[in-house]
């Protein structure tokens, strides 16, 4: 479980996150939704330590990440897997080498154990046939799946996904969403997904946080979100005619 308490962050005097408190539960896909520019990605980067909050605390299973020293931070970070918006695969490495990379750098496994683990993770995301390909030779959806395989290869306890569906067709998006949810349940990890995709929200939103202008203004599940009375959330969700028709 990840908890963030009273997180504030400003860039050049402009407040980006205001007093954000939230709990991301273990074994569930926790979604952070909101329009572009509301601070979702900044919150995600703050959670993983890429951005330092001005105030507030982040707790990983009751371990204070913000107050931790370098070694403790390192330890927590090694339990984190992250899927970046563009995949963030290393261009000079093949698909298999990308997945192998965290193991090579951070684990004491033997060569054969590492190879087995890479094979398992690639199989899990359905890409064992693409192990030898370079990132430039695979599609966007495949790059996302390699990113997921790399994120879980260390048996991560926490999985963060930044806009996993961006740039993907609806069918591939749903495949990626389902994969994230399956992995979350299968390995009982705490997953946090930043998205503004309505399909994702309704498919995998087991715990949803809605952000507006840097503040968390709603929290709930996919079952209750369509019945919301919060005006900003209504404007966000029902911007699409499809969703309006669905509600009616």
């Amino acid at each position: 479980m990840i908890e963030c308490k009273n997180i504030n962050k400003a860039f050049n005097g402009k407040q980006i996150l205001t007093d954000i408190s939230a709990t991301f539960e273990q074994g569930k896909t926790n979604l952070i939704i909101g329009a572009s520019g509301t601070g979702k990605s900044v919150l995600l980067k703050t959670l993983v330590g890429l951005v330092k909050p001005d105030s507030g605390s982040i707790l990983y299973d009751n371990r204070d990440f913000t107050a931790a020293d370098k070694d403790e931070k390192q330890e927590i970070r090694r339990e984190i897997g992250m899927l970046f918006q563009g995949g963030a695969l290393f261009d000079s490495k093949t698909v298999a080498e990308n997945v192998l990379f965290p193991l090579d750098m951070l684990s004491d496994m033997s060569k054969s154990e590492k190879a087995d683990r890479v094979q398992f993770c690639l199989q899990r995301v359905g890409l064992d046939h693409a192990a030898h390909l370079m990132p430039s030779e695979i599609s966007g959806g495949m790059a996302k799946r390699v990113g997921i395989a790399r994120a879980i290869v260390m048996n991560s306890k926490y999985l963060f996904c930044d806009e996993p569906n961006s740039g993907l067709d609806p069918q591939t998006s749903i495949r990626i969403d389902n994969l994230i949810q399956e992995i979350t349940h299968e390995f009982n990890i705490t997953t946090v997904v930043v998205t503004h995709d309505m399909n994702s929200m309704l498919e995998i939103g087991e715990n949803i946080i809605f952000m507006f202008k840097g503040q968390k203004i709603w929290e709930g599940t996919k079952e209750v979100i369509l019945g919301t009375t919060v005006e900003e959330l209504q404007n966000f969700i029902f911007a699409s005619k499809l969703i309006r028709d669905m509600k009616n």
Binding site: R78, A88, L106
Partner: protein
Amino acid sequence: MKSFGKYIILMSTLFVRREKFSVYWKLTIDECILIGTNSIFIVAIVSSFIGAVTCIQTAANLVSPLVPIYVVASVVREMSILELAPTFTCVVLAGKVGSSIAGQLGTMRITEQIDALEVMGINSASYLILPKILASLITIPMLVTFAGLLSILGGYIAGIMGNIISTQDFIYGIQIDFNEFNVTFALIKAFVFAFLISSISAFQGYFTKGGALEVGQSSTSAVVKSCIAVLVADLALAQLLLN
């Protein structure tokens, strides 16, 4: 001043939270190939031609019958070892290697590859920059030595083919009044320039923000700043070590 402070902090982070030695070994060897081996051709071309031109121009200007012809070879030797090989080669390398380092790191930054390393708990600065600096410190002095030799060889070929100087005079000229410290001085310069080129270019690339346009700007800025740093260091080292 703010940038300089940031540069110093970046350099100091290269030596904290380092990874296993074997990781750096492999990366440094790879970088040696990229920085060193892949630069041999351009260094060979540039240094032989500047040696040849130095020989021809020196001969053209030493028209007095009071000046013996072997002086042309001595001038080629001194110019090559003291200035042309270390400084000229490093200015060329600032363009080739500097832009490559800045471009590579800049692209890694904007495509979130550096963020991916940080999230894994890897010191991205140390992992990405330290091998480049080590490889530069190893290969650039080698390239400078190679450039010095080829520059003198270029001068010799131009002198012989242009009927400027005989082989005997040339060999006599490059041996007479030879000061061994000049070679040491050239190597000191090569080490300093290697550090400046690799670290400044890495700094420019590592802190790239934005997109493709900014990566291009970082590469340009890396080349310009590295060249200026090389020239300033050249002056400072000459003042410090030759006076």
